[in-house]
Symmetry: C2
Subunit: 337 residues, 2 copies
């Protein structure tokens, strides 16, 4: 079954291939009557332009790349990426762009993937996740002149476009809420310290605690896994003056923290209040359901995809601020008893 080409359409319509191309792409250069006739024939024979041929002449691959640097174990567990991807994808497919996905093991591999994509012209641009402080990927992408949008910030994005959310404000809201409930000893179980947003949240946490007159503001650095989240929680709760509230940097660690509290015979929220980051369905799956800093992750991904398509189109794109995550109080927070 041979795929129809513009040559087939041209023959049928009795015009040149060029005319078919113009008609199909809405370019001037053909009369309206001819255009309609060509479109009808294309429709009739089920024509779909060959993406390789198009990429070869037009220089656009109509695809966008996303490299994810996390082990399968963590990737599978965190709802974040799948939600992000589905948001990105919704925006892309509406514009007939494909999403090319690659899981990478380390920064070297990720940079190699960008170089390869660029060399192969396989993608027209990329989305950058998990921005780090002094991120080595940023100068590489700038040098390659590969269109890119950083999902993260603010700052540290070099000359690249970005979409970011105000994590600092969100974390401050959570701390204020806990203090308003009467908590004075609040701890935090953080994500990977080398990630920029972890740094931003840690500083916001320290600042908020200081501003509200709390004497201590302990952050334990973890890696987003339930294993480390549970262990950190056990350690915090075994201390002499244990915290009455813990803020977690993702939902998975928060759930592990909840289980750890149960193991230690502590009631949630009676003995311990818990706030999770990312209000995924996981938070409503457990008992009590978790108070969380919620955000619409698919919308965040869609926003980033839109920004990337603008960059690819040659628009001047800076740093777009996305909605600030907001607190969703549920059963896991209450006044300390």
């Amino acid at each position: 079954m041979k795929r129809p080409t513009i040559a087939d359409i041209a023959r049928r319509a009795g015009v040149s291939k060029g005319a078919v191309s113009y008609a199909l792409n809405g370019q001037p250069g053909v009369s309206e009557a001819t255009r309609q006739r060509i479109l009808a024939i294309a429709e009739e024979i089920g024509f779909t332009p060959n993406s390789a041929a198009r990429a070869l002449s037009g220089a656009t691959a109509n695809a966008v790349g996303l490299a994810l640097r996390r082990p399968a174990r963590i990737l599978g567990l965190e709802p974040f990426f799948m939600e992000l991807i589905s948001g990105v994808e919704a925006e892309l497919s509406a514009r007939s762009y494909a999403l090319t996905l690659q899981v990478v093991a380390d920064p070297e591999a990720e940079i190699a993937v960008y170089r390869r994509w660029w060399g192969e012209r396989r993608v027209d641009g990329v989305l950058l996740c998990d921005l780090r402080i002094d991120d080595r990927r940023v100068p590489v992408l700038e040098q390659l002149q590969l269109p890119a949008v950083v999902i993260g910030g603010p700052g540290h994005t070099g000359g690249l476009a970005s979409v970011w959310a105000d994590d600092a404000a969100a974390l401050a809201e959570a701390v204020e809420y806990l203090v308003a409930l009467g908590h004075r000893r609040i701890a935090r179980v953080g994500g990977l310290p080398e990630l920029l947003h972890t740094e931003i949240r840690t500083r916001a946490f320290t600042d908020a605690c200081a501003r509200l007159g709390l004497s201590e503001a302990v952050t334990v650095a973890c890696d987003y896994t339930g294993e480390q989240g549970g262990r950190a929680t056990r350690r915090l709760l075994s201390a002499a003056r244990r915290p009455t509230a813990i803020v977690y940097d993702n939902d998975v660690m928060a759930i592990a923290g909840l289980a750890a509290a149960h193991e230690l015979g502590l009631a949630v929220p009676g003995d311990l209040s818990i706030v999770a980051w990312d209000d995924s369905p996981l938070c409503r799956l457990v008992h009590p359901s978790l108070t969380a800093l919620g955000r619409d992750i698919p919308a965040y991904g869609a926003h980033a995809a839109r920004a990337l398509l603008a960059v690819i189109a040659g628009d001047q794109v800076g740093a777009y601020q996305h909605d600030t995550p907001h607190l969703k109080p549920r059963g896991s927070t209450a006044p300390p008893r």
Copy 2:
């Protein structure tokens, strides 16, 4: 910054473009000395073949497609797909194949995506998930002659290659285990009834219960969400003769079931034993940790990817059986009291 092409290499090496192509692809037609010289130059100037040009002449896109038909909400939550993707991806990237992902809303959209991919020659083959009984995608793929591997079965795959696991045997093992513990009233919270593997599991459950002399074998049909899983559990546990054990078709519903039992004041595993399907890290996140039917999902995905590459290479591929999921007993199962 212009990307280097084979013409650049040819000029530098003082040979024809054809010779460069042969050398780069390990084809006969160039002397070993010439080949080495060409490879060295390619390496030196950082040559990467343009994938569009390659696809246009060689007829292979070096990409594989995966369409996922689930709402973002569910997709994000279930570790299954991310683990599957990371396994697929690991296998593909080792062979320099890209993975093109698309999230679709319904069967029509999914079939349209296959047609488009085929027309655009954007992918060399596709992976089919969530096989249904009388699945309309199967004849479409056969007709398009788009290389495909079904992840699922056995049976109902038409002439397509497939990779499947013996869910029936796994479910029987779980039921036998529960009966050995002393359970006589076992219920099941199942996945989407239109999926083939749900049907297979339901039949296996009914058969195992009958074989072991249990008088009833209730399966409640759900959709894999925690919401429905929790509701089904509440209903089952509110009945006059409530089950002492429930087997769930995924981990998310099992966790929701655990929370529902807690809400109703029932102890797990004292009053209710729980078995989950898919031993994701979620199962070890909750307290008690969940007994689960475990399987290596990334390996399953890698297996499917290998099969697909074989189909693309023109090999005759039938139905490969993958490892049978096996029971991992943990804290959520015990003799009924």
